[in-house]
């Protein structure tokens, strides 16, 4: 049923990764992404890949779901691999035909880039698998709150994101309803050229907009009734507290960074 949709790709669970402070998770994720780009040798990258695999295991998110998150990037992976194989030259030549030469360096770079992208995607999807969109917005608001100094309305932005997340499912349901109503009046949404199809969307788009405005208006009333006056003076029910596991996560990250730097130093760089 259409109302069963879930926004984001949160996978409910009680693992260590789930219970980490969302702010820490957000920071650690960005941190690791930066470290991925610091890697120069197979050994340092291997350390990151190992971390990604370990984190995935810790999260208890089924391997099938993690592989699913890799599906959309398969084409990118193949494309970058081919590019690297053909355009990076050097070292021993494995294969040569006409103008095409496949060299040791090309193959190494291709493999290296692929591992890098896969690690990147796995690490960032672990963040969204173990953190709800609401928690992410909350964390972002709190991390960015120092920006208030520069008159950036962090709270307002976060509130807007929360409301968007809240209303996306409602509006999807609404689109479904309106589409059915217009189809019942003989609206043809499936056939015709681009222009006709665009035109056919008018009977759906206009009622949707009217409804969205009505909802926004009513929501504003309802929020006023509940004494909402912006971020000033608000408290939060759910406090974010840094626990021991969060400190461990940060120290672990630092260790990996150090490891990457050391391994970069001792082994030959691939790129």
């Amino acid at each position: 049923m259409i109302r069963d949709i879930t926004i984001g790709q949160y996978y409910p669970g009680k693992s260590v990764l789930h219970s980490l402070d969302p702010r820490v998770k957000l920071i650690v994720t960005f941190w690791l992404i930066v470290v991925i780009f610091l890697c120069k040798s197979f050994f340092s990258l291997g350390l990151i890949a190992l971390t990604a695999v370990a984190a995935a295991a810790l999260s208890r998110v089924p391997a099938k779901m993690i592989l699913k998150s890799l599906k959309p990037i398969v084409i990118i992976l193949i494309f970058t691999a081919i590019l690297n194989i053909f355009y990076t030259q050097g070292g021993e030549t494995y294969f040569s035909w006409w103008k095409i030469e496949i060299t040791e360096k090309g193959v190494n770079t291709a493999i290296f880039t692929m591992i890098r992208i896969v690690s990147l995607v796995v690490i960032s999807s672990l963040l969204t698998y173990t953190t709800t969109p609401t928690m992410l917005t909350d964390a972002l608001e709190r991390i960015l709150s120092p920006l208030k100094v520069f008159k950036i309305k962090v709270h307002t932005l976060a509130m807007m994101m929360t409301l968007a997340l809240r209303f996306i499912p409602t509006l999807i349901e609404e689109i479904d309803r309106i589409m059915n109503a217009q189809k019942a009046r003989g609206a043809d949404l499936e056939t015709g050229g681009l222009v006709e199809r665009a035109k056919a969307l008018v009977p759906i788009f206009i009622p949707l907009m009217v409804s969205a405005f009505r909802r926004a208006y009513e929501l504003a009333f309802a929020m006023t009734c509940r004494c909402y006056t912006g971020g000033e003076g608000r408290t939060r029910m759910k406090q974010m507290k840094i626990a021991l596991r969060d400190i461990i996560a940060i120290i672990f990250c630092a260790a990996i960074t150090a490891g990457v730097i050391v391994l970069n130093h001792f082994f030959d760089a691939v790129i």
Binding site: M1, D4, E174, R177, I178, N180, A181, Q182, K183, A184, R185, G186, A187, D188, V202, P203, I204, I206, P207, V210, S211
Partner: protein, 288 residues
């Protein structure tokens, strides 16, 4: 003989092919005759909305068939398209489908999709507007400037203007006050009397159905639980209550009177009917 609408083993699943697969409707076999006014009752989630969305091909059956005038609507594309015009479906809160600049254009949307001539379209819009009580001076106005009740009439006119053989209403009185509800019930009754069309009303209001329907179909747990005349269905109060449906208050009064040992019938579902019976009873009482 073919029926206006007939379903054979009609089944539809939600989340098909996943672990959560559940039947929204399961093996529904129904026959609806020409000119009937059929009420479909059931609580939310009983499958009644899914059922009617199959009657004009908005949903495709996972198994089973829907026949309109004896023809399978999924036979080919052309038949499917025609079935949309043969079976008009007026959804709950239909005012949310309005979109045109003027009331006239909105009512004309259906007939225009039917590729009728301008003259024919105009005739139909006028007829539908007259039926639903949409005022002539409103035809040039924006539908968004009308009141809630007026919008609903325009939206209903927008389905009626297709002049379908079968007109289905999903919760037509939802959100209306008593005056609006009564006006709407009379509108539907008049429409049926004057056009002789088949009308199907989906509702969870037992009172509304009792006032209009010739025949009642009760949906429960994705299948047809009962069908028959209003008399036949409403007399099974206990079973209806077990399905989460409330019998009309008047029916409940009579059930309790019987429980108190009074000799009154149990198939009472309108106040007029009940008053007539009780008047006789009370006269007899005072005569003694």
């Amino acid at each position: 003989m073919s029926y206006t609408i007939e379903t054979i083993g009609l089944t539809h699943y939600y989340s098909k092919g996943t672990v959560q697969q559940v039947a929204a409707i399961n093996d529904v076999n129904l026959k609806i005759e020409k000119g009937e006014l059929v009420g479909i009752i059931g609580h939310t989630g009983s499958g009644k909305s899914t059922l009617i969305s199959h009657f004009n091909g908005l949903l495709k059956p996972d198994s089973g068939k829907v026949l309109v005038d004896g023809v399978d609507i999924w036979k080919d594309k052309e038949t499917l398209k025609k079935s949309r015009f043969k079976v008009g479906l007026c959804f709950q809160y239909p005012e949310y489908q309005l979109f045109e600049e003027t009331v006239y254009k909105d009512i004309a949307f259906g007939p225009k999709n039917m590729k009728l001539s301008e003259a024919e379209i105009k005739e139909r819009v006028m007829r539908a507007a007259a039926f639903t009580g949409v005022k002539a001076e409103h035809l040039g106005k924006s539908p968004f400037d009308l009141s809630g009740g007026e919008k609903r009439r325009v939206a209903i006119a927008g389905v009626m203007s297709m002049e379908p053989e079968v007109l289905i209403f999903d919760e037509p009185a939802a959100g209306l006050d008593p005056r609006g509800r009564n006006a709407l019930i009379n509108l539907i009754k008049d429409y049926r009397k004057q056009t002789g069309s088949t009308v199907i009303i989906v509702s969870h209001s037992m009172e509304d159905i009792a006032e209009m329907a010739d025949r009642v179909i009760v949906m429960n747990n994705s299948s047809v639980a009962m069908q028959g005349s209003v008399d036949e269905v409403y007399s099974r109060g206990d079973e209806l209550r077990a399905m989460g449906l409330n019998v009309p208050e008047i029916t409940e009064i009579f059930a309790k009177l019987r429980a108190k040992g009074l000799d009154v019938p149990q198939n009472v579902y309108t106040v007029e009917q009940g008053a007539a019976i009780l008047r006789k009873l009370l006269e007899r009482g005072s005569a003694k």
